[in-house]
Amino acid sequence: MIWDQSFALSIIPQLLEGLQVTVQITLLGFAIAVVLGLVVAVIRRLEIPVLSRVLGGYVQFVRGTPLLVQAYTAFFVLPAYGLRFSAVVTGVIVMGVNYSAYCAEVYRAGIQDVPRGQWEAATALSLPAHSTWARVILPQAIRSVVPVLGNYLVQMFKDSAVLSAITVFELLNAAQSIGSSNFRYLEPLTLAGLLFFLVSFPASHFFRTLERRLAPTH
Protein backbone atom coordinates (compact mmCIF):
# COMPACT_ATOMS: atom_id res chain seq x y z
CA MET A 1 0.00 0.00 0.00
CA ILE A 2 1.43 3.34 -1.06
CA TRP A 3 0.77 6.61 0.76
CA ASP A 4 -1.89 8.62 -1.10
CA GLN A 5 -1.15 12.24 -0.32
CA SER A 6 -4.35 13.77 -1.73
CA PHE A 7 -6.51 11.20 0.14
CA ALA A 8 -4.58 11.93 3.30
CA LEU A 9 -5.18 15.68 2.97
CA SER A 10 -8.85 15.15 2.24
CA ILE A 11 -9.55 13.27 5.47
CA ILE A 12 -7.81 15.70 7.81
CA PRO A 13 -10.95 17.76 8.57
CA GLN A 14 -12.84 14.63 9.68
CA LEU A 15 -9.94 13.55 11.84
CA LEU A 16 -9.73 16.96 13.46
CA GLU A 17 -13.38 16.67 14.39
CA GLY A 18 -12.57 13.37 16.06
CA LEU A 19 -9.63 14.97 17.83
CA GLN A 20 -11.92 17.67 19.12
CA VAL A 21 -14.20 15.04 20.68
CA THR A 22 -11.17 13.29 22.18
CA VAL A 23 -9.96 16.53 23.74
CA GLN A 24 -13.41 17.37 25.11
CA ILE A 25 -13.89 13.95 26.64
CA THR A 26 -10.42 14.08 28.14
CA LEU A 27 -10.90 17.49 29.73
CA LEU A 28 -14.37 16.71 31.11
CA GLY A 29 -13.29 13.29 32.35
CA PHE A 30 -10.21 14.82 33.93
CA ALA A 31 -12.31 17.45 35.70
CA ILE A 32 -14.38 14.64 37.24
CA ALA A 33 -11.26 12.65 38.10
CA VAL A 34 -9.38 15.44 39.93
CA VAL A 35 -12.40 16.47 41.99
CA LEU A 36 -13.69 12.98 42.79
CA GLY A 37 -10.14 11.77 43.46
CA LEU A 38 -9.54 14.58 45.92
CA VAL A 39 -12.77 13.85 47.79
CA VAL A 40 -11.87 10.15 47.96
CA ALA A 41 -8.33 10.85 49.16
CA VAL A 42 -9.44 13.23 51.91
CA ILE A 43 -12.19 10.94 53.19
CA ARG A 44 -9.81 7.99 53.24
CA ARG A 45 -7.34 10.02 55.26
CA LEU A 46 -10.03 11.13 57.74
CA GLU A 47 -10.39 7.47 58.72
CA ILE A 48 -14.15 7.61 59.03
CA PRO A 49 -15.31 4.13 60.09
CA VAL A 50 -16.74 2.06 57.21
CA LEU A 51 -16.80 4.94 54.69
CA SER A 52 -13.02 5.27 54.47
CA ARG A 53 -12.66 1.53 54.02
CA VAL A 54 -15.37 1.43 51.38
CA LEU A 55 -13.54 4.13 49.43
CA GLY A 56 -10.30 2.21 49.86
CA GLY A 57 -12.06 -0.73 48.24
CA TYR A 58 -13.33 1.54 45.48
CA VAL A 59 -9.80 2.65 44.64
CA GLN A 60 -8.49 -0.93 44.60
CA PHE A 61 -11.39 -2.19 42.52
CA VAL A 62 -11.29 0.54 39.89
CA ARG A 63 -7.51 0.28 39.54
CA GLY A 64 -7.70 -3.49 39.41
CA THR A 65 -10.08 -3.78 36.46
CA PRO A 66 -9.38 -2.84 32.82
CA LEU A 67 -10.72 0.43 31.50
CA LEU A 68 -12.22 -1.41 28.54
CA VAL A 69 -14.20 -3.72 30.82
CA GLN A 70 -15.49 -0.71 32.75
CA ALA A 71 -16.48 1.01 29.52
CA TYR A 72 -18.32 -2.06 28.19
CA THR A 73 -20.10 -2.60 31.48
CA ALA A 74 -21.22 1.02 31.64
CA PHE A 75 -22.36 0.99 28.04
CA PHE A 76 -24.03 -2.41 27.71
CA VAL A 77 -25.03 -3.48 31.21
CA LEU A 78 -26.11 -0.33 33.05
CA PRO A 79 -28.91 0.53 30.58
CA ALA A 80 -30.56 -2.74 31.58
CA TYR A 81 -30.92 -1.21 35.04
CA GLY A 82 -32.41 1.99 33.69
CA LEU A 83 -29.16 3.98 33.63
CA ARG A 84 -29.13 5.10 30.02
CA PHE A 85 -26.77 7.80 28.78
CA SER A 86 -25.37 8.74 25.39
CA ALA A 87 -22.08 7.16 24.40
CA VAL A 88 -20.18 10.39 24.96
CA VAL A 89 -21.62 10.96 28.43
CA THR A 90 -20.97 7.34 29.35
CA GLY A 91 -17.42 7.75 28.07
CA VAL A 92 -16.77 10.88 30.10
CA ILE A 93 -18.10 9.27 33.27
CA VAL A 94 -16.14 6.05 32.75
CA MET A 95 -12.92 7.96 32.15
CA GLY A 96 -13.59 10.26 35.11
CA VAL A 97 -14.35 7.42 37.51
CA ASN A 98 -11.45 5.32 36.27
CA TYR A 99 -8.92 8.10 36.67
CA SER A 100 -10.40 9.31 39.96
CA ALA A 101 -8.96 6.18 41.55
CA TYR A 102 -5.48 6.96 40.23
CA CYS A 103 -5.80 10.61 41.18
CA ALA A 104 -6.88 9.59 44.70
CA GLU A 105 -3.63 7.67 45.08
CA VAL A 106 -1.64 10.63 43.80
CA TYR A 107 -3.29 12.98 46.29
CA ARG A 108 -2.76 10.45 49.05
CA ALA A 109 0.97 10.54 48.40
CA GLY A 110 0.88 14.34 48.28
CA ILE A 111 -0.96 14.53 51.60
CA GLN A 112 1.45 12.07 53.17
CA ASP A 113 4.39 14.18 52.05
CA VAL A 114 3.20 17.23 53.95
CA PRO A 115 5.47 17.24 57.02
CA ARG A 116 3.94 16.35 60.38
CA GLY A 117 5.06 19.73 61.70
CA GLN A 118 2.45 21.39 59.48
CA TRP A 119 -0.35 19.45 61.18
CA GLU A 120 1.17 20.23 64.57
CA ALA A 121 1.42 23.95 63.82
CA ALA A 122 -2.25 23.92 62.79
CA THR A 123 -3.18 22.21 66.07
CA ALA A 124 -1.05 24.63 68.06
CA LEU A 125 -2.94 27.53 66.47
CA SER A 126 -6.28 25.80 67.20
CA LEU A 127 -7.19 25.89 63.52
CA PRO A 128 -10.39 23.92 62.96
CA ALA A 129 -10.17 20.80 60.80
CA HIS A 130 -11.64 22.37 57.68
CA SER A 131 -9.21 25.30 57.77
CA THR A 132 -6.31 22.94 58.39
CA TRP A 133 -7.23 20.99 55.26
CA ALA A 134 -8.24 23.87 53.03
CA ARG A 135 -5.58 26.40 54.00
CA VAL A 136 -2.59 24.39 55.19
CA ILE A 137 -2.50 20.79 54.01
CA LEU A 138 -4.17 20.69 50.59
CA PRO A 139 -2.43 23.72 49.06
CA GLN A 140 0.90 22.08 49.81
CA ALA A 141 -0.20 18.56 48.89
CA ILE A 142 -1.76 19.59 45.59
CA ARG A 143 1.09 21.83 44.58
CA SER A 144 3.52 18.95 44.89
CA VAL A 145 1.39 16.58 42.77
CA VAL A 146 0.36 18.91 39.94
CA PRO A 147 3.00 17.50 37.55
CA VAL A 148 1.93 13.93 38.31
CA LEU A 149 -1.70 14.82 37.70
CA GLY A 150 -0.57 16.42 34.46
CA ASN A 151 1.01 13.17 33.35
CA TYR A 152 -2.27 11.41 34.08
CA LEU A 153 -4.05 13.97 31.93
CA VAL A 154 -1.78 13.05 29.02
CA GLN A 155 -2.26 9.35 29.67
CA MET A 156 -6.01 9.86 29.82
CA PHE A 157 -5.93 11.65 26.48
CA LYS A 158 -4.35 8.57 24.91
CA ASP A 159 -6.52 6.08 26.83
CA SER A 160 -9.67 7.76 25.59
CA ALA A 161 -9.15 5.86 22.32
CA VAL A 162 -10.60 2.88 24.21
CA LEU A 163 -13.96 4.62 24.02
CA SER A 164 -14.12 3.93 20.29
CA ALA A 165 -15.20 0.46 21.44
CA ILE A 166 -18.43 1.91 22.83
CA THR A 167 -19.17 3.94 19.68
CA VAL A 168 -17.89 7.29 20.90
CA PHE A 169 -16.91 9.13 17.76
CA GLU A 170 -13.49 10.26 18.91
CA LEU A 171 -10.24 10.36 16.97
CA LEU A 172 -9.58 6.62 16.65
CA ASN A 173 -13.18 5.88 15.79
CA ALA A 174 -13.12 8.62 13.14
CA ALA A 175 -9.99 7.08 11.61
CA GLN A 176 -11.48 3.59 11.63
CA SER A 177 -14.68 4.67 9.97
CA ILE A 178 -12.79 6.57 7.27
CA GLY A 179 -10.74 3.42 6.77
CA SER A 180 -13.67 1.07 6.46
CA SER A 181 -15.66 3.25 4.09
CA ASN A 182 -12.68 3.86 1.76
CA PHE A 183 -10.93 0.50 2.22
CA ARG A 184 -7.76 2.44 3.05
CA TYR A 185 -6.44 2.29 6.60
CA LEU A 186 -2.85 3.45 6.10
CA GLU A 187 -3.53 7.18 5.93
CA PRO A 188 -6.29 7.59 8.54
CA LEU A 189 -4.61 5.44 11.20
CA THR A 190 -1.20 6.98 10.59
CA LEU A 191 -2.60 10.46 10.80
CA ALA A 192 -4.62 9.58 13.91
CA GLY A 193 -1.47 8.35 15.61
CA LEU A 194 0.37 11.46 14.52
CA LEU A 195 -2.36 13.72 15.92
CA PHE A 196 -2.26 11.90 19.27
CA PHE A 197 1.48 12.39 19.33
CA LEU A 198 1.35 16.06 18.31
CA VAL A 199 -0.83 16.80 21.33
CA SER A 200 0.65 14.45 23.91
CA PHE A 201 4.33 15.15 23.26
CA PRO A 202 4.30 18.91 23.91
CA ALA A 203 1.88 18.37 26.80
CA SER A 204 4.13 15.90 28.60
CA HIS A 205 7.11 18.14 27.92
CA PHE A 206 5.23 20.99 29.57
CA PHE A 207 4.48 18.92 32.68
CA ARG A 208 8.09 17.80 32.94
CA THR A 209 9.15 21.44 32.99
CA LEU A 210 6.49 22.19 35.56
CA GLU A 211 7.78 19.38 37.75
CA ARG A 212 11.17 21.02 37.94
CA ARG A 213 9.60 24.41 38.65
CA LEU A 214 7.41 23.09 41.46
CA ALA A 215 10.18 21.31 43.34
CA PRO A 216 9.17 21.03 47.03
CA THR A 217 9.83 24.03 49.21
CA HIS A 218 10.65 22.14 52.38
Partner: protein, 251 residues
Amino acid sequence: MITFQQVSKRWGDNEVLKSLDFEVLPGEKVSIIGPSGSGKTTILRILMTLESPNEGLVTVNGKTLWDVKAGTRPKEAKEMRAARRDVGMVFQQFNLFPHMSALENVMEAPVKVLKMDKEQARARAVDLLEMVGLAKHLEHRPPKLSGGQQQRVAIARALAMRPKVMLFDEPTSALDPELIGEVLGVIRELGHSTDMTMLMVTHEMRFAEEISDRVATFDHGRVIERGAPHEIFNNPKEERTRKFLKAVLEH
Protein backbone atom coordinates in the same frame (compact mmCIF):
# COMPACT_ATOMS: atom_id res chain seq x y z
CA MET B 1 -1.36 28.41 85.50
CA ILE B 2 -0.19 24.92 84.56
CA THR B 3 -0.53 21.81 86.68
CA PHE B 4 0.45 18.23 86.02
CA GLN B 5 -0.88 15.69 88.52
CA GLN B 6 0.36 12.13 88.41
CA VAL B 7 0.87 12.29 84.66
CA SER B 8 2.36 9.26 82.92
CA LYS B 9 3.23 8.78 79.30
CA ARG B 10 4.46 5.54 77.79
CA TRP B 11 5.72 4.57 74.37
CA GLY B 12 5.46 0.82 74.53
CA ASP B 13 7.76 -0.21 77.36
CA ASN B 14 9.46 3.15 77.47
CA GLU B 15 7.99 5.30 80.24
CA VAL B 16 8.67 8.86 79.15
CA LEU B 17 6.87 10.52 82.06
CA LYS B 18 6.51 8.76 85.41
CA SER B 19 3.66 9.99 87.63
CA LEU B 20 4.82 13.52 87.08
CA ASP B 21 3.71 16.30 89.41
CA PHE B 22 4.66 19.68 88.06
CA GLU B 23 3.39 23.20 88.39
CA VAL B 24 3.98 26.57 86.79
CA LEU B 25 2.55 29.70 88.41
CA PRO B 26 0.90 32.52 86.48
CA GLY B 27 3.49 34.78 84.88
CA GLU B 28 6.34 32.49 85.81
CA LYS B 29 9.18 31.86 83.35
CA VAL B 30 10.33 28.30 83.78
CA SER B 31 13.08 26.47 81.94
CA ILE B 32 13.29 22.73 81.73
CA ILE B 33 16.74 21.29 81.29
CA GLY B 34 18.05 17.76 81.24
CA PRO B 35 19.53 15.08 79.01
CA SER B 36 17.76 14.28 75.76
CA GLY B 37 15.12 11.59 76.06
CA SER B 38 14.26 12.70 79.57
CA GLY B 39 10.68 13.64 78.67
CA LYS B 40 11.13 17.42 78.55
CA THR B 41 9.60 17.90 75.13
CA THR B 42 6.78 15.49 75.95
CA ILE B 43 5.60 17.88 78.64
CA LEU B 44 5.23 20.64 76.08
CA ARG B 45 3.61 18.34 73.54
CA ILE B 46 1.02 17.18 76.07
CA LEU B 47 0.27 20.82 76.89
CA MET B 48 -0.20 21.54 73.18
CA THR B 49 -2.40 18.41 72.82
CA LEU B 50 0.03 16.95 70.30
CA GLU B 51 0.35 13.91 72.57
CA SER B 52 -2.11 12.45 75.02
CA PRO B 53 -1.02 11.24 78.43
CA ASN B 54 -1.74 7.64 79.45
CA GLU B 55 -2.67 8.72 82.93
CA GLY B 56 -3.15 11.83 84.97
CA LEU B 57 -4.65 15.28 85.08
CA VAL B 58 -3.37 18.36 83.28
CA THR B 59 -4.91 21.80 83.70
CA VAL B 60 -4.16 25.14 82.09
CA ASN B 61 -5.50 28.39 83.46
CA GLY B 62 -7.96 26.50 85.63
CA LYS B 63 -9.40 24.52 82.69
CA THR B 64 -8.97 20.80 82.30
CA LEU B 65 -6.83 19.92 79.31
CA TRP B 66 -6.46 16.21 80.04
CA ASP B 67 -8.19 14.05 82.59
CA VAL B 68 -7.33 10.45 82.03
CA LYS B 69 -8.36 7.90 84.60
CA ALA B 70 -6.36 4.75 84.11
CA GLY B 71 -8.07 2.61 81.50
CA THR B 72 -10.47 5.22 80.15
CA ARG B 73 -10.12 7.01 76.86
CA PRO B 74 -9.11 10.64 76.94
CA LYS B 75 -12.10 12.71 75.97
CA GLU B 76 -11.58 15.47 73.51
CA ALA B 77 -14.04 17.97 74.78
CA LYS B 78 -14.96 21.59 74.51
CA GLU B 79 -13.01 22.34 77.63
CA MET B 80 -9.87 20.87 76.15
CA ARG B 81 -10.16 23.11 73.13
CA ALA B 82 -10.80 26.11 75.33
CA ALA B 83 -7.77 25.25 77.45
CA ARG B 84 -5.64 24.80 74.34
CA ARG B 85 -6.59 28.30 73.17
CA ASP B 86 -4.63 29.68 76.09
CA VAL B 87 -1.46 27.95 74.94
CA GLY B 88 0.89 28.92 72.13
CA MET B 89 3.91 26.98 70.98
CA VAL B 90 7.17 27.68 69.20
CA PHE B 91 8.69 24.60 67.59
CA GLN B 92 12.26 23.55 67.11
CA GLN B 93 11.69 23.31 63.35
CA PHE B 94 9.58 26.53 63.14
CA ASN B 95 6.81 24.77 61.18
CA LEU B 96 5.79 27.90 59.33
CA PHE B 97 3.33 27.46 56.47
CA PRO B 98 5.70 27.58 53.48
CA HIS B 99 3.09 28.67 50.94
CA MET B 100 2.10 31.79 52.89
CA SER B 101 3.99 35.05 53.39
CA ALA B 102 5.24 35.98 56.85
CA LEU B 103 2.24 38.27 57.21
CA GLU B 104 -0.24 35.58 56.14
CA ASN B 105 1.33 33.10 58.55
CA VAL B 106 0.68 35.49 61.42
CA MET B 107 -2.81 36.51 60.25
CA GLU B 108 -4.14 33.03 59.56
CA ALA B 109 -5.24 31.91 63.02
CA PRO B 110 -6.62 35.26 64.24
CA VAL B 111 -8.84 35.40 61.14
CA LYS B 112 -9.90 31.75 61.11
CA VAL B 113 -10.06 31.04 64.83
CA LEU B 114 -10.64 34.34 66.60
CA LYS B 115 -12.83 35.56 63.67
CA MET B 116 -10.97 38.85 63.68
CA ASP B 117 -11.66 40.95 60.59
CA LYS B 118 -8.87 40.95 58.05
CA GLU B 119 -7.80 44.56 58.37
CA GLN B 120 -7.53 44.34 62.13
CA ALA B 121 -5.65 41.03 61.91
CA ARG B 122 -3.30 42.50 59.35
CA ALA B 123 -2.57 45.55 61.50
CA ARG B 124 -1.82 43.35 64.48
CA ALA B 125 0.33 41.00 62.42
CA VAL B 126 2.34 43.98 61.15
CA ASP B 127 2.85 45.18 64.75
CA LEU B 128 3.97 41.75 65.89
CA LEU B 129 6.35 41.28 62.97
CA GLU B 130 7.80 44.71 63.65
CA MET B 131 8.23 43.76 67.27
CA VAL B 132 10.32 40.73 66.29
CA GLY B 133 12.34 42.88 63.89
CA LEU B 134 10.91 41.70 60.59
CA ALA B 135 9.16 44.84 59.32
CA LYS B 136 11.08 44.48 56.06
CA HIS B 137 10.03 40.89 55.44
CA LEU B 138 6.24 41.02 55.69
CA GLU B 139 5.65 39.71 52.18
CA HIS B 140 8.43 37.13 52.14
CA ARG B 141 7.64 33.44 52.24
CA PRO B 142 9.50 31.23 54.71
CA PRO B 143 11.81 29.58 52.16
CA LYS B 144 13.21 33.04 51.46
CA LEU B 145 13.96 33.71 55.14
CA SER B 146 16.88 32.58 57.28
CA GLY B 147 16.26 30.13 60.13
CA GLY B 148 16.47 32.92 62.67
CA GLN B 149 13.97 35.01 60.76
CA GLN B 150 11.63 32.03 60.36
CA GLN B 151 11.72 31.36 64.07
CA ARG B 152 10.91 34.99 64.81
CA VAL B 153 7.93 34.79 62.44
CA ALA B 154 6.87 31.65 64.30
CA ILE B 155 7.03 33.53 67.61
CA ALA B 156 4.91 36.34 66.16
CA ARG B 157 2.45 33.78 64.80
CA ALA B 158 2.02 32.17 68.21
CA LEU B 159 1.67 35.56 69.93
CA ALA B 160 -1.06 36.61 67.50
CA MET B 161 -3.43 34.23 69.30
CA ARG B 162 -2.84 36.11 72.58
CA PRO B 163 -1.87 33.00 74.52
CA LYS B 164 -1.57 33.11 78.29
CA VAL B 165 1.09 30.43 78.17
CA MET B 166 3.93 30.25 75.64
CA LEU B 167 5.81 27.03 75.12
CA PHE B 168 9.27 27.05 73.55
CA ASP B 169 10.51 23.67 72.40
CA GLU B 170 14.26 24.03 71.92
CA PRO B 171 13.66 27.17 69.87
CA THR B 172 17.28 27.59 68.85
CA SER B 173 18.41 23.99 68.38
CA ALA B 174 17.88 24.00 64.61
CA LEU B 175 19.66 27.31 64.07
CA ASP B 176 23.13 28.11 62.88
CA PRO B 177 25.15 29.51 65.80
CA GLU B 178 25.26 33.05 64.44
CA LEU B 179 21.43 33.17 64.29
CA ILE B 180 20.74 32.01 67.84
CA GLY B 181 21.28 35.45 69.37
CA GLU B 182 18.50 37.18 67.43
CA VAL B 183 15.93 34.58 68.49
CA LEU B 184 17.00 34.56 72.13
CA GLY B 185 16.87 38.36 72.03
CA VAL B 186 13.21 38.26 71.03
CA ILE B 187 12.34 35.70 73.71
CA ARG B 188 14.25 37.68 76.35
CA GLU B 189 12.39 40.86 75.39
CA LEU B 190 9.11 38.97 75.58
CA GLY B 191 9.99 37.70 79.04
CA HIS B 192 10.73 41.20 80.31
CA SER B 193 7.84 43.01 78.66
CA THR B 194 4.90 40.68 79.34
CA ASP B 195 3.37 38.80 82.20
CA MET B 196 2.83 35.79 79.99
CA THR B 197 3.64 32.43 81.51
CA MET B 198 6.59 30.91 79.67
CA LEU B 199 7.75 27.33 79.69
CA MET B 200 10.88 26.55 77.78
CA VAL B 201 12.90 23.48 76.94
CA THR B 202 16.38 24.58 76.05
CA HIS B 203 20.01 23.63 75.84
CA GLU B 204 21.11 27.25 76.14
CA MET B 205 22.13 27.16 79.80
CA ARG B 206 23.29 30.77 80.08
CA PHE B 207 20.04 31.93 78.59
CA ALA B 208 17.97 29.69 80.86
CA GLU B 209 19.82 31.06 83.86
CA GLU B 210 19.28 34.63 82.78
CA ILE B 211 15.62 34.54 81.76
CA SER B 212 14.06 32.02 84.16
CA ASP B 213 12.38 32.56 87.48
CA ARG B 214 12.76 28.87 88.05
CA VAL B 215 14.63 25.98 86.49
CA ALA B 216 13.61 22.34 86.63
CA THR B 217 16.01 19.55 85.81
CA PHE B 218 14.58 16.41 84.33
CA ASP B 219 15.85 12.91 84.00
CA HIS B 220 14.07 9.71 83.08
CA GLY B 221 10.60 11.22 83.14
CA ARG B 222 10.88 12.81 86.57
CA VAL B 223 11.78 16.18 88.00
CA ILE B 224 15.15 15.74 89.68
CA GLU B 225 15.50 19.17 91.08
CA ARG B 226 13.82 22.53 90.84
CA GLY B 227 14.73 25.94 92.12
CA ALA B 228 15.94 29.42 91.38
CA PRO B 229 18.38 29.49 88.46
CA HIS B 230 21.42 30.59 90.46
CA GLU B 231 20.88 27.72 92.89
CA ILE B 232 20.51 25.10 90.19
CA PHE B 233 23.46 26.33 88.16
CA ASN B 234 25.84 27.27 90.98
CA ASN B 235 24.89 25.01 93.78
CA PRO B 236 22.92 21.98 92.58
CA LYS B 237 21.90 19.60 95.34
CA GLU B 238 21.38 16.52 93.23
CA GLU B 239 24.22 14.46 91.90
CA ARG B 240 22.44 13.91 88.57
CA THR B 241 21.96 17.66 88.07
CA ARG B 242 25.67 18.18 88.76
CA LYS B 243 26.61 15.51 86.26
CA PHE B 244 24.35 16.90 83.58
CA LEU B 245 25.53 20.48 84.05
CA LYS B 246 29.13 19.38 84.03
CA ALA B 247 28.58 17.54 80.76
CA VAL B 248 26.86 20.43 78.98
CA LEU B 249 28.92 23.28 80.34
CA GLU B 250 32.24 21.63 79.62
CA HIS B 251 31.50 21.33 75.97
